[in-house]
Symmetry: C2
Subunit: 554 residues, 2 copies
């Protein structure tokens, strides 16, 4: 690389939803902003998560000085276990963000060797030739920062995810002053979140949800179940406060909800009065009007606590007639069918279900800036170069058009996608070639060895362990499985005779141990079969074929 | 069946989206209202459409007097080819509805033997013991009716699909007076469309779209592509009118768009000035600002004209920089990813894309009644019994609650689902048992013999013809297929040696004849592979295995 050049190299998240990751390079030094995952599309059967191809970083292994995180959402930190096991560099993040990271690395057995370094908003730190100042911003999660990266060619501001919430629930304000200061001093490039560029006006404050929650607590006559993203600390805090006010005990149900609230409490983002919290198993001992259950699973994920409760298959969370269930989250595109299926089950249990239906006050607000907020930040920062980040292609394009029309505030707009190298020098900026990028599929069913043998890096996976395809014919009407399941395999050497018959028996057993409602919900039943088969096959053969249950309705 | 009883037997559409079909029985006479299809969920790999199980009708074969249609949408008429080939009874519908039905039956070679009988709004007709009065209603399609069915126990009103549009584009008004008359005389039961029960207020008039279309025509500087459901006659009429006003020639692209506009023109719902229409192949001969292309494919269906144009793979529809593409339709849940993928491709061609984004004036309005319209009809009809129809369970439930709170207008509310028998007699109404219902999957790839051997009625299909599962590994980065496809089959006896190698070659050929963009769009490429393989295998072996392409990203 010639001297005097600065490279911005997006490795994910520009032109696709999720998997945010960007390299910034000056000479022989590279820093990485975020390392997120993407949830796979339905087409990627049998794959759990998707992470960015980091060949560019691996080829420059000795140059990578560290990874700086903007906040703790999965699409910004979810690829860390995979990245760190290939490239163990220091990770910089705020206290709360690192708490999520610790939890995640611990799960993967990577924590002991990790070098985690806490950063604080307003406190500059150095990595290689870069000085980085984290700037506190508001978002649906807490302790989020934008990053002002001082490079030899000028300051690059990466917004991370943000909205401009004038009344955050924790009263920690968006640091408009820092953006204003940088704008006055001069900014080389602004990289800004494009997620909500299609929305006019302002995103409502997180506080707007309080009015609806108030109403729900006032009206609920029996048990109250509230589901939100486990990282929605503002939302959890609100529910806990209102539960205390209304004399309801609180139980957390679901692993992610438990972890997340524990972290939030440890770090002072969540105060739970003594005696308020009860174990999920105790819920049944309280009068229905005296409990509030915070439960994971807003997206209808088949194995989540709420999905299981909806089909009456959760040990502790039992939903009965007259109970209230709140889904305080957005419907992520692609999840509609699963979510509405879950809502239908809840209606069948005669629960009152409150979900986002466009009514006001809202039961959910977005964490991302709408058009007026995006323009406000551009006005404050007045960058020479503007680069839209975090979005599908149409969002990047619309964001580029929005900024392109702001002649007083923006010098040039550069529309780049994952893999493009954006080069800056004294003469200006230009696209300068491409690096390898792509999506790596990971099957995280077994958490310990996510990186070693579960990566479907290429066809080798298939030609080594092959696949197992159980085909189940379910009578739509009765929910009965009428004929013995077929097991189709390829490239999977089962070893002993009769093993396929055993596999078939595992499927039969899983089916017979499932309720009628579960069998009617193909998402649930396929996931159960997959989990059970994987456990069995892995134990018996030490192999990890791709397992793809197919349901035929008859 | 004991004398003096009236049975309402929903065979589809109550507790599920689509597949609307209801039997009404008095003694030895049955009439059927609508016979619709459902588009299959992603889980039903390899299946094209889903139709209701009509065993109840087949068991009472000699009692079925006819099928009465409310309007021509697929979820109300799409199962007719399947139903009529099992049970050839008279079909009653309005002129426009029957035109769609003729087209459909003709395709399936069933038209010659069909007994189609035209009905007119306001003109009563008799079927068995029932006298039926069609009542003109407004909806997104033209010539739609509600049905007032005079039975020995009183009048049953089935709304079909409707909204109350005070300013319909064709000036044919919603017949409020007829509903008012029936309300005064007394109505036994009102069966009302639940589709939009979650929406507050009123659904905007179809005329609201005109303002947005006006703006689009005024601003478009180059070619203008407008996509809407081919049955949106109001929308097509509007586009044609504006094209004439703005001096643009009109071309129809896509089979369904062509058929539908031809029918609408024949029947006087659409007037196309002489010389306005040009063949799609001529489009290139006109200056870009002088053409408007009406094109099928709002839902991102992989093989639709618009999806193919978006990846530059349509013979006539070429979308270039600066062209405008309008998607005048709603996003059907489950289609989000496909639609946004198509929109992304259009953005990459640097087209201006106008899609539903919540802005005003709207580019699309719904055809279904919102809460205030539903209440208006209930107020007019004042039924003794109210039964929500057309909706998933939560919608039926919410609709039941809405009607249940209208004490002055509604006697009792009955919440029933597909398969429930609702019995009326002199004493009142009650659920009285269930009949067999369910979903039948049909692979309509080959249209001629949809009913004979393509029905996956049970596992026999699989055990007779088995399945063929081509597995293709595509390099996400390059779009290249790196290794020869695997072909996995089971239960499919290929006959000659080497046949599987030929099958593999078909897949290789399909892949090599596809553009890079097509290969990157798994929806498109899977559909192409499936279509080509089906043709080949069927020709070579006269067999119809289930074909399920699987793409592995590497």
């Amino acid at each position: 690389m010639p001297p005097g050049k600065l490279h911005l190299v997006p490795l994910g998240g520009l032109g696709e939803f999720g998997m945010n990751c960007m390299a910034i390079r000056w000479g022989d030094d590279i820093i990485v902003i975020d390392a997120g995952l993407m949830f796979p599309e339905a087409e990627l059967l049998g794959v759990d998560i998707v992470v960015p191809d980091i060949s560019y970083l691996l080829e420059n292994r000795q140059r990578v000085r560290g990874i700086v995180l903007t906040h703790g959402h999965e699409d910004h930190i979810g690829a860390l276990p995979w990245v760190l096991s290939e490239l163990n560099v220091p990770v910089f993040g705020t206290e709360f963000t690192l708490a999520y990271v610790e939890d995640k690395l611990d799960e993967h057995g990577l924590l002991d060797n990790a070098d985690l370094r806490e950063i604080r908003p307003g406190e500059r730190f150095k990595i290689g030739p870069f000085t980085v100042q984290p700037i506190h911003v508001t978002h649906s999660l807490v302790d989020c920062v934008s990053l002002a990266i001082h490079t030899p060619l000028g300051v690059v501001i990466h917004t991370g995810d943000f909205k401009v919430d004038p009344t955050p629930t924790d009263n920690r304000l968006f640091d408009l002053h820092a953006f204003a200061e940088y704008g006055k001093e001069g900014v080389l490039a602004l990289l800004q979140d494009s997620t909500n560029v299609e929305r006019r006006g302002y995103t409502p404050s997180e506080r707007a949800v309080r009015r609806k929650f108030d109403e729900v607590f006032a009206r609920a006559e029996r048990r109250l179940f509230i589901s939100c993203f486990s990282s929605s600390i503002h939302r959890i805090k609100l529910a806990v406060e209102l539960a205390a006010e209304h004399g309801r005990k609180v139980a957390f149900v679901g692993r992610s909800m438990n972890n997340s609230s524990e972290i939030a409490e440890d770090l002072g983002y969540l105060e739970i009065p003594d005696g308020l919290l009860v174990h999920p198993g105790e819920v049944k001992n309280f009068a229905p009007e005296k409990v509030c259950v915070l439960i994971s699973g807003t997206q209808g994920e088949p194995m989540s606590a709420l999905s299981r409760a909806a089909v009456n298959n959760h040990k502790h969370a039992t939903i009965e007639k007259g109970d209230t269930v709140v889904l305080s989250s957005r419907i992520i595109p692609g999840n509609e069918k699963a979510i509405y299926r879950m809502i239908d089950h809840l209606f069948r249990r005669e629960a009152h279900v409150i979900y986002e239906d466009g009514s006001s006050p809202p039961i959910h607000v977005s964490g991302h800036a709408s058009q007026e907020e995006l323009k406000l930040i551009i006005n404050l920062v007045k960058p020479k170069y503007f680069i839209p980040i975090h979005g599908e292609y149409r969002q990047l394009k619309l964001h580029a058009e929005l900024a392109g029309s702001m002649h007083g505030s923006v010098g040039n707009v550069m529309l780049i996608e994952s893999g493009d190298v954006l080069e800056f020098d004294e003469l200006g900026a230009r696209k300068a070639g491409r690096v390898n990028v792509g999506r790596i599929c990971i099957d995280s069913g077994s958490r310990a060895d996510v990186v070693e043998d579960l990566v479907i890096k290429d066809r080798r996976h298939l030609s080594e362990d092959g696949f197992v395809l159980p085909i189940i014919a379910i009578n739509k009407l009765t929910g009965r499985v009428e004929i013995s399941p077929e097991i189709v395999t390829r490239g999977f050497s089962a070893g002993e005779n009769g093993f396929m018959e055993e596999v078939r028996q595992v499927v039969v057993q899983t089916l017979s141990q499932s309720s009628e409602e579960e069998r009617a919900d193909y998402g649930v039943i396929k996931e159960k079969i997959r989990a059970d088969l994987k456990r069995y096959i892995s134990k018996q053969t030490q192999k990890r074929p791709l397992i793809m249950p197919v349901i035929l309705e008859i």
